[in-house]
Symmetry: C2
Subunit: 438 residues, 2 copies
């Protein structure tokens, strides 16, 4: 036996049976909603060429991912999201009817510093729509996200929506025209809700903006509320900027569609939402569990019409939404929304002696054939020890077969909750067990 300890690598973990029961429950809910929306599931490769990953996020992505040379010296990397792979998949195809609505629910890897509920391997669901620039697609991305939360039972959430075109237009109108400067400013705005107003001011002024510009940005990005209210509160001067006006118009149309979809109640316009990542260029949104903002957005997304052009010979308008499974599990846990879940079998067939051990196998297979999960003793234990095992596993029904039952052609059915026992004819067992499990 080993004297060495084989520990898991830092930031990695196994998923054991109780956690897996929750994940299976959650995945089923998510896949069910994606299906109802007509998203088709795919699975992009887990290992990409490093250059594919860098093409989306620049060479500095190396600091945040697992990458390594293969045995032939080519640089590879583990995927850090699902959007890169899905976009590359679509960019290489010319035969797909558009819009292409695809989704994935899979694991990914990031070399982050592990923290509360954050591992270096984690899961996301991700739904993307390629091939349409219409606002309906953005609304669809938001709607599918909210319906996933609704399917789980989460009610106290809010989707905060804005538009990168609007924000960039505002910045340009304020004289911030250099692309690098625009992006730097946007990264600070992205942090604005997580840091103090003083810190926000210091960081923005730190990028070289003067006080007046800072105040204008601060005025705009603090606007938050119903679409009507926010849209009418935007200072008049920004309507002069074409980009910002277009963004504003898109937001107005988006909320009309959200209204038709019955989703506007859960959505607010929040002009501080910009999404940090560089490639967004239209509607952007983030959803928050109001009871758990500390874990960050429970889903987020937006429009990125340029990314497909990076991976293929044409641009394809695209919008999408993704959410982290582990974060969602925290919200579900906090709201006590997981039902009682168990992966234990429903029935255990206990045998009293050698002869009934023999006879019980047929019964076990018959139950299984009829769709009832069933186990039996594989350790040659006494009846008492078998029933202790049944208890410790939380199995609801025990069948007991011994010489007396065999002689009479009966089997004892014990409800492990109430400890009530009934005797049924072997031929009526399936019906009886099915009834008890309903």
């Amino acid at each position: 036996m080993s004297e060495r300890v084989f520990s898991l690598p830092r930031g990695m973990k196994d998923i054991d049976t109780p956690e897996m029961a929750k994940r299976l429950w959650l995945n089923k809910k998510i896949l069910g909603v994606l299906e109802k929306y007509g998203f088709q599931i795919v699975e992009p490769t887990s290992i990409e060429s490093l250059e594919t990953l860098e093409a989306k996020s620049g060479p500095q992505i190396k600091d945040e991912i697992y990458y390594f040379p293969d045995k032939a010296g080519r640089n590879l990397g583990l995927r850090f999201d699902l959007t890169v792979g899905m976009t590359r998949m679509v960019a290489g195809r010319y035969d797909l009817p558009e819009p292409v609505k695809i989704a994935a629910l899979s694991g990914m890897w990031r070399y982050d510093e592990p923290q509360f509920a954050r591992y270096r391997h984690f899961y996301q669901w991700d739904a993307e729509i390629y091939g349409t620039a219409e606002i309906e697609a953005d609304a669809e991305a938001i709607a599918v996200g909210t319906d996933i939360l609704e399917a789980i039972g989460l009610r106290d959430y809010e989707v905060r929506v804005s538009n990168r075109k609007f924000t960039e237009g505002v910045l340009r109108q304020l004289g911030i025209t250099q692309q690098e400067k625009v992006e730097q400013t946007i990264r600070v705005i992205d942090k604005s809700r997580k840091i103090s107003p003083t810190m926000f001011e210091r960081e923005l002024l730190g990028t070289g903006l003067d006080q007046e510009v800072f105040e204008k940005i601060s005025e705009v990005t603090s606007l938050r509320g119903s679409a009507d209210h926010v849209l009418s509160s935007i200072p008049e001067e920004f309507s002069k900027n074409e980009m910002s006006s277009k963004g504003r118009e898109e937001l107005s149309r988006l909320f009309d569609v959200l209204n038709d979809l019955g989703k506007s109640e859960k959505c607010i316009l929040d002009l501080s939402i910009v999404r940090g990542i560089g490639y967004y260029d239209g509607i952007v949104f983030e959803a928050y569990d109001k009871g758990g903002e500390d874990v960050g957005a429970i889903f987020g997304g937006g429009r990125y019409d340029k990314l497909a052009g990076v991976y293929g010979k044409r641009e394809i308008p695209a919008t999408g939404v993704a959410g982290g499974i582990e974060r969602l599990m925290i919200s579900i846990e906090r709201a006590s929304l997981f039902p009682r879940l168990s992966q234990s079998p429903k029935v255990f067939a206990a045998a009293v002696d050698e002869e009934s051990r023999h006879k019980i196998l047929n019964m076990v297979m018959d139950l299984r054939k009829n769709g009832i999960s069933c186990d039996y003793d594989m350790k040659k234990r006494s009846l008492r020890n078998q029933l202790e095992y049944v208890d410790s596993m939380g199995i609801p029904i025990a069948l007991i077969l011994g010489p007396k039952e065999l002689e009479k052609g009966l089997v004892k059915v014990r409800d492990m909750g109430t400890h009530m026992e009934t005797e049924v004819k072997t031929s009526e067992l399936i019906g009886e067990v099915t009834r008890k499990l309903q």
Copy 2:
């Protein structure tokens, strides 16, 4: 737009929507059978410490896997199977009622030379039973494997069973006593069905055996057929060896249990089955699709009572079974057992003009709420182009809403197969569509 080509790394692939539809169908079948047998699903970590992987398979495993240092210089590796992780998970736990029946259905990575239907990332289902040395557990592993094939509809398969104890006993009885020599001989026996008899002879003699010993081995390992027949054909001299006798007795009891489980018909005793891998030490088995032996075993497994001791401070008897998803898909494809599968939505709601585009959204959400997968036009296309899209996507039902229908409170329901149209009241739409989809 990009002039560069972003290709997939060698041996990697994306899973697109038609293939994913098949995998989702297959996974559901497999998970359903595992559940009925009381196996609980887990997911071991995808990245292990390199030393954990080496502990099972020796340092030469490096040649066959992806491994790399992390940013802190620790050596990591991508899992190459699910058994290592599941065994490590159980070896570290003292609180689990035994037997522990766990299973996984996940991806893994091997740095093999890619060939037909073999990629460097692939999937397996894997069911393991820890904590019992009884033969019933080995029978359970075989039974769950066969029931997975049955659930898929495969009928023309055969499980070939043997026992490593028996084979090792035979070799020892023949004077092959050095462990290294035993393993070397076993590796050649493992290949015996894949190479010509001449090649088999040459390879065995090449390990330094003399002609007489080779002939004895060849006589034993060519025995194949019903358990009764094979067990009674084993040359008398091997009953003198304790290990070989124990192996023989286990095989005899195993076939009794398989008989009780209704599985003996599909199982034969084949004394050439040894499983190449070092850690097996009891019952071993491999299942073959009779029409597709070229792809290799469609599942295989056996007993490995020593492995848990490598990962923990105690030995835990263990047995299990695993099968490759990609190989299984080839068998299913060849036998034309995949049903017609599509991930396309069932309904598409087409709108004739602006007003009906507006009105249709409510209808779409209502269908989705009632569990019916439904999509609508997000590209502002003409009705004709919408219906072309519906056709190209293989969506069975189109709803058509225009000013005439709006006025009458009706919606047209078109069966895309027959092109038959009916008009139904908006309030009766859900019922009508549900009926048509049955």
